[in-house]
Structure formats: C-alpha cells, structure tokens
C-alpha cells in the first residue's frame, strides 16, 4: 500500500504529477487552483522537473506545446478564465498530437465571475473549446483520491493516444481536504521518437506542426484525428453506477455535484423512491451507450442531470436518450452548492407529475 496523507485536492494533484514522472510544469496563478503551482514551486528543489512561472496562460499553454513537442511529460493547470485564454494553444496541441496534461479547476462564470466552484466549463471542455474539429480526453475527479488517480491516468492516456488530456474538476474538489493514498513514484522513460530532441545522424529531422495548408492534407489530418477519437471512444469510456439496477429516476452527475447526488439517491430510497446515479468519470468520451441502455429499460421513468450550471451536460444526456424518456436538469450557479434536499424535492415533484 502507498503512503497515506491528508491533503487538499489541488496539492494531491500536484503530488500525483510529480509521482507520475512529470518533467515540466508551466503555470500562472489563479484561484481556486493556485495551490498547484505553489506546491510544485515548494517541492521543486527535491525533484528533477522544470518549473516556469509563466507570464500568462497564453504563455503556459505554448510552453506546454514546446515541452510536449520536445518529448517531455508536461503539465499546466488553471481555472476557467485561464482555460479560456489557452484555447488557441489547446487546438494547436490537439492538431499536432502532443501528449500533455491540462487541469481546469473551474470556477463560476461567465466573465471574471466568482472564485467559487462551478461546472460551467463543460461545453468548453468536451465540445472542443478552441477552433476546429478536435476533442480532449476529459477526466472528472470527484474526490481528492481521484485527483491523484486521474492525474496519473491523464498522463498515461495522453501518452497512449498522443493527445492532450484534461482534468476538469471544480474549486470544491480542488480546495477540499481528504485522506489520500499516494502511489509509489513512477520511473518514467519517454519513448517518443517523433520528438524534437536534436536531429541525430541516424534519422530524418523531426518537426512539430499543426499547419496543413493544402485542403486535401487538412482533410486527411482530420480523418486521422477522427480515427483516433473513435478508438478512444471505443476503449476509454469510464463511469460509476450507484444503485442503478432498479432505478426509476436516473441522476446523471459528475464532479462535486455527483457527491451530493449520491446522497439524494439514499434519501430518496429511504422514502421508497428508486433513484440511481450514473457518474461519468470520463466526460469525453461520454458514457453514451450506458445512457442509451438505461433509457431503453422499462423501469426507467426519467433522467435528471444535476450540474452546477444552467444546463450543459444535460444536452449530451438528451442526445443519447434520444427522446425515449424525459430528461430534466437541476442546477445552481455562482458557486452555490446544491443541497440533497433541494435536488430531491425537484426529483419528487417531477416523479409525482408522472
């Protein structure tokens, strides 16, 4: 068993990155994720990684591009406005097929918004975010332990598919403290023959680019990317089900609101209402087949998407329910934490309306 510690979500993510063999970190402070860069700055002398406190998120995402292109395990972290600022760079990284990890410890928007937790960045995370046709692998931890596990998984998946992996969570998970089990450090040995490490005599030059000026080449590149995304969709969907088998009401929820939703399931069952929870762990690829399957069960009366937004993930739920059952949404914004009681009240109301 690994080392047990009591840690903040953000610090756990940072520690996990170190243990995953991260070689470069580039970041800019923003609440509620600044503990990540602070933790890594404090730990820097004890490890071999390079840390640059960048001049902006625009710089950090482009440093990420450079570092990933040069063959290193690299990460940047930010929160919502910073992630918006990075989008051009994320699109370049996706097109150039560079493995790297980005974390968005999101906060309430739009605009400068609030520093409180939010899930309003779902669209930006799973629908691309920047320009052009691309997707990120999106992991959604809902505990401090998962901040550790998902960070390591993000590095592994990024390397497996040569694609950026995004950890999308919220300020609540970033700021809360829980017990974690930390894994043994991984001895990471990069094997990236395509990287720009200096052209040795025994190979052609390597170059990293996202430029495909000829229309035909650009289309071929898109075919290649889409084939990769298809493979990811086939292999990497992850979700957790809680009391789903006999459920009449299926709550779909991720991140911090999935914790509240779990409580809703238990409270409802005490009242004799069969509620279950489907928690996407990967927001992209989304558990499309599982949602479709559940929507075809006679026992399922309706779906309820619970998210700290005005309704973003609910669109993907609807897309996969395909009208077979009603799909509702309950959410609060501005960083207001939903109580299990208010969600239950809404669910019961819909249940009684039939």
């Amino acid at each position: 068993m690994g080392e047990i510690r009591f840690m903040k979500g953000n610090e756990a993510l940072a520690e996990a990155a170190i243990r995953a063999g991260m070689q470069g970190y580039f970041g800019y402070p923003i609440t509620p994720q600044s503990e990540i860069v602070e933790y890594l700055a404090m730990q820097e002398p004890n490890h071999d990684y390079v840390l640059v406190h960048a001049e902006s998120e625009v710089a950090s995402i482009n440093m990420l591009y450079g570092g990933a292109g040069a063959g290193s395990r690299v990460m940047t972290t930010t929160s919502s406005p910073g992630f918006s600022l990075m989008q051009e760079g994320v699109s370049y990284i996706a097109c150039a097929e560079l493995p790297c990890v980005i974390a968005n410890i999101s906060r309430g928007g739009p605009g400068l918004g609030t520093i409180q937790a939010s899930q309003g960045d779902y669209f930006q995370a799973v629908k691309g975010g920047g320009h052009g046709d691309y997707n990120l692998i999106v992991l959604a931890p809902n505990s401090v332990q998962e901040m550790v596990d998902h960070t390591i998984m993000a590095f592994e998946l990024a390397d497996k598919y040569n694609t950026p992996a995004l950890i999308l969570t919220d300020g609540a998970i970033g700021q809360m403290m829980e017990k974690v089990v930390l894994p043994e450090p991984i001895e990471y040995k990069p094997n990236k023959p395509w990287a720009t490490t200096g052209k040795t005599k025994d190979r052609e030059r390597n170059y990293i680019t996202s430029l495909y000026i000829k229309s035909e080449d650009m289309e071929q590149k898109n075919f290649k990317l889409q084939a990769k995304y298809k493979e990811i969709k086939e292999n990497e969907v992850r979700f957790e089900s809680y009391k789903i088998d006999d459920a009449e009401i299926i709550i779909v929820s991720y991140g911090v609101s999935s914790r509240t939703s779990k409580k809703v399931v238990d409270l409802a069952r005490e009242k004799g209402i069969k509620v279950g929870l489907l928690r996407p762990i990967t927001l992209w690829p989304f558990p499309t087949e599982e949602i479709a399957r559940l929507s075809k069960l006679d026992s399922t009366k309706f779906f309820l998407s619970v998210e700290m937004s005005v309704g973003q993930m609910v669109e993907d739920v609807k897309l996969n329910v395909e009208g077979r059952k009603p799909v509702y949404m309950y959410g609060r914004t501005g960083g207001i934490m939903m109580t299990p009681e208010e969600i239950l009240e809404y669910a019961v109301k819909k249940y009684e309306e039939g």
């Binding site: 482009n62 591009y65 040069a70 290193s72 690299v74 370049y92 720009t196 200096g198 030059r205």
Partner: protein, 250 residues
Amino acid sequence: MREGYEVVYKRPKSLIETRMHYCPGCFHGTVHKLLMEVLDEMEIVEKTIGVCPVGCSVFAYDYMNVDMQEAAHGRAAAVATAISRLHPDKYVFSYQGDGDLAAIGTAETIHACNRGENIVFIFINNGIYGMTGGQMAPTTLKGQITTTSPHGRDPINAGMPLKMSEIVSGFDGVAYVERVSCNTAGNARKTKKALEKAMKISEQKIGTSFIEVISNCPSGWKCTPVQSLDWIKDEQIPYFPLGVIKEPGK
C-alpha cells in the same frame, strides 16, 4: 562542374534542396542560408532545435534540416523557453517576424528575454506583415504606406516604430543584441558573424541573444527587390541603426 572551377557560393548542407516559397529577392531565404551555414560550420546541427513562427517563415521547417517546432502566432518565445529548459544542453533558436515577435507576441518576447532564457532570437524586421498581404507592423516606418495605413503610418494613431533591440538590451537577462541587415554582401557577412557569435554565447549559457535583421518585403512594399535595397539604406537603417547594441562583458 567545369574543370578548374570551384564552387565558392554554395548551398549549405543543412539547407534542404527544394524550391522555396519566398518571393524573389526576399531576405528570409538569405537568412535561412546564413543560419544553416553557421550550424554546419559549427557542427551543431545535432544539438540544435529551432522554432518557427506564424508569418512568411512558417514553413522554415521545410527548408532547415534540423529538428523544429512551428509555434502559434507570437508564441515562439514561450515554445522555445520550454524546449530550452527541458534540453539545457541544446542550442535553441527562435526565428520570428516583426508582427509575430513585436506585436501579438510582445509579452512572450519580453518575458523570455527578461528571464534570460538561453534562446537565440532571430528577428526578421521587414516593417510589414508579409504573410497576410502587407499590413502595418509595429515596426512600419512613420509615413510608410501599407494596406492598413494607406495614407502612411500616422504616429498619432499608431505610435512610432518599435525598437525591440533597444528595449530588450535593457534587460539583465540579455547577453547580446546586434542589429544587422542583408542589403549588401558585406552586411550579409556581418549577419552571419552575428549568428555565429550568438550560437557561441548560447554554448556559454550566459543569457539571451537577440539578432535583429533589417529585412525587406518586396511584395508587401510593392517594389522591386533592387528598390527594396534602396529603401533599407535610405529609410530603414537611419531609423534602425545597425551594429552591436549589447555584448557580453561590455
């Protein structure tokens, strides 16, 4: 080759043999050649990683037979920073135009220089946005006509042309700054010397090098290559004087 003759002006080994997309007379090709000559002569091709920008030199990796990364518009300094930090024993150069380095990418340029990143900047100042069809750059001269300053650059609206070399020379992190040109054979030779000196400074890891090349853009300037040389001599160089601005130990 004819017997008794020797080729004295030849393609450097590391300049890939292909037709360049640059317009006739454009200095981009000249500077590419000089840079590859320097890498070949110093025998450091294996230890060099280049970054090219968005601008006419976006395709530099098609011509330079070294490992390269193509950066987003203006972000070459950030890309080069990461490469250099993760590969401290490599020579890293960042080849950028004036729109790229001195407009959209000013923040990245300033901070990389201020941090003293071990990067050789090759700054192609042609006073215009060549790639997008000849719009005003931060370095466009006062009164100069471009497609977005059709009545001439007006300092009231657009400020005066930015002197990047003078700006970055003020930073402790910057070891060497020289402004050169390729408008005469002699100046081209000086450009090569400056590039070589910058690479040697990079080897010593004593700070950033910044080589500003006063360049042309016959297509954007709407003139012949020969007329562009006159413009450089009569208009650009008086405002952007050539020479060493800062060097180690001085």
